[in-house]
Amino acid sequence: MKRRPALVWLLPLLVVAAILPRVVPGSFALTLLVFISLYSMVTLGLQLVLGYAGQISIGQGAFMGIGAYGYAILAVKQHVPAWPALIAAALINVAIAYIIGKPILRLSGHQLALATLAFGIIVATILAQATGLTGGAIGISAIPNLAVGGFAFNDDMRNAYLAEGFAIASLLLAHNMMRSRIGRALQALNASPPAAESLGVDVAGHKLHIFAFSALLASLAGSLYAAYLTYISPDAFSIFLSVEILVMASVGGMATVWGAPIGAAAIFLLHDALDNISKGLPSGTVSILQTVIFGAVLIAIMIFVPEGLTRGVIKGVEGLRSSTPL
């Protein structure tokens, strides 16, 4: 196996991440950057569950919702300081992932898809209906920003750096994990669970750990989301969020951690492009156009590049490279 030093891609990535918030035009683009970074984290978790462990989950939005609401409830109602609230929400999420993951991950294929979909809808309903805890449809406002000492992450620029930092750290962690013993075990598991099991891979245990790790990433992204917007409401964490995350993972491509940021960026930029195209049209037409095109893009990608954009591009690049004499 070829070992490339991590610095080869890490350095350009850090440079781009450092420059990007300074050069993008206006606060709207910064918001987009924050969202792309946060959704990359959630999508990354799903990539690992889906692309490496081969398990479909349509419930990742629920973990993000629990992360956001956990942070908001602890920070606003229980007056827990911001960072401990973020960590506590993450621990709660991981515990939930282990508890529900243990029975649910015995399922596979469409059964697992439906079970995780059910989990997502149940959590979304509780967030919307448990008015005493979550504020119901009104949501929770005046959520505190995160801060380090006296430095509060209270504007778009600072939040863009914070979100990028978390996203890059998550990517690095996942990238190294996939090259470790755990990663190879997971890939073996995806290729053939019985073969992996017969070689002594703890199949059930690995699936469960990776599911919990995906919940951790989604929880952090959810808490950062709440701390950035300072206001959350249940409709942000409906089942459509889980579907959108599944879409980002599929568009980006499975079995590569880079699929996550590419998928998240592609979907957010598509939304943004549709917004721009439909400027000037009546507002009803905008949502019609968006919904139809969004659906059509999904279908087209599954038909023409089923392995996802990242793999498609990598294949193309490798094709070029192998055809040029060294």
């Binding site: 029975p103 898809a113 809808i121 309903t125």
Partner: protein, 309 residues
């Protein structure tokens, strides 16, 4: 999508027994409704192995088209027939696209494609019928009948009756017709079916068409009882899934029976626990069944010999 109307005096009847009876009777109609959607899932799943996440689109489209037909004063039987035909054609299109990405291995591509289709059709329905919930007059009379003090709308009886007729037709088709047996052969062993000369791809399209027609009729018959709008498909699909899994995904009768039991329980949950808990109750039961009895609660009661044949 709105819930079926309950009679205004039902809540003030005072007697808890009366109220419970009202919930149970409403629940049966709700359950028949979800059973009809579940039936559509079962048809496609049994033939292609695809779980169609766009299943809610068929009743939604079927209901909305009927609203327009009713506004154009088309006679009811003709309108129903045309409705089923149009939606069946849409279903065949769905089937063609979903089959294109389904190689029998990863279930993910057809899940994404059908999710994409349901989104695209939400947009199209929004374009044609706008955002508001719509409805049209009941087939026969809008006044409630009273059974032991509980209100029953004639349209609810239509829903239950049509659910029963369609499930029997589906069962008969799969069990007793040559074409039905050919379709079922594809689900048992695609390769063997192809070897004996069955056009597996054509059968998949047929299954999507039949499922869509069933869905269209379901939408047509439930719309006067509730309302329908461009985004009704999600609620319908989720409850239909729950019903199909709860009853048994491989057996039409079991799926519809599952729908009726779930309908009763979820209406009770909605009435006694609170808004939104109908779906939660249905999904919790679905999860319990998935984990403890994945073939479904009623799978062995209505032995259809689907897999054994």
């Amino acid at each position: 999508m709105g819930r079926p109307k309950t009679h205004p005096t039902a809540g003030t009847a005072g007697l808890a027994v009366g109220l419970t009876l009202q919930f149970v009777i409403t629940g049966i109609a709700v359950g028949a409704m979800y059973g009809l959607v579940a039936l559509g899932f079962v048809i496609i799943y049994n033939v292609t192995g695809i779980v169609n996440f766009a299943q809610g689109t068929f009743p939604t489209l079927g209901g909305l088209i009927m609203v327009s037909f009713a506004a154009a004063h088309l006679p009811l039987p003709l309108a129903l027939l045309l409705d089923a035909l149009i939606v069946a054609l849409v279903g065949v299109g769905f089937g063609a696209l979903a089959s294109l990405t389904f190689k029998g291995e990863s279930p993910l591509p057809p899940i994404i494609v059908t999710l994409g289709l349901s989104l695209a059709f939400e947009g199209i329905c929004m374009f044609v019928w706008s955002f508001n919930p719509l409805s049209y007059p009941a087939f026969t009379g809008a006044n409630a009948l009273y059974v032991l003090g509980a209100a029953v709308y004639p349209q609810a009886l239509w829903v239950i009756g049509i659910a029963l007729i369609l499930v029997l037709l589906t069962y008969g088709f799969f069990e007793y017709t040559y074409l039905g047996k050919a379709v079922r052969a594809c689900s048992i062993n695609r390769r063997a079916a192809r070897l004996v000369g069955i056009d597996v791809n054509l059968m998949a399209l047929l299954a999507f068409g039949l499922s869509a027609a069933t869905g269209a009729i379901a939408g047509a018959v439930i719309t006067p009882l509730t309302t329908i709008s461009f985004n009704s498909d999600v609620t319908l699909a989720v409850n239909g899934f729950a019903a199909a899994i709860f009853g048994g995904l491989e057996n039409p009768m079991a799926a519809v029976a599952g729908g009726i039991v779930l309908g009763i329980i979820s209406t009770l949950a909605q009435g006694y626990i609170g808004n939104g808990f109908d779906v939660v109750a249905a999904l919790v039961l679905m999860l319990i069944v998935l984990l403890s009895r994945p073939q479904g609660v009623f799978a062995n009661i209505f032995t259809a010999r689907v897999k054994a044949a």
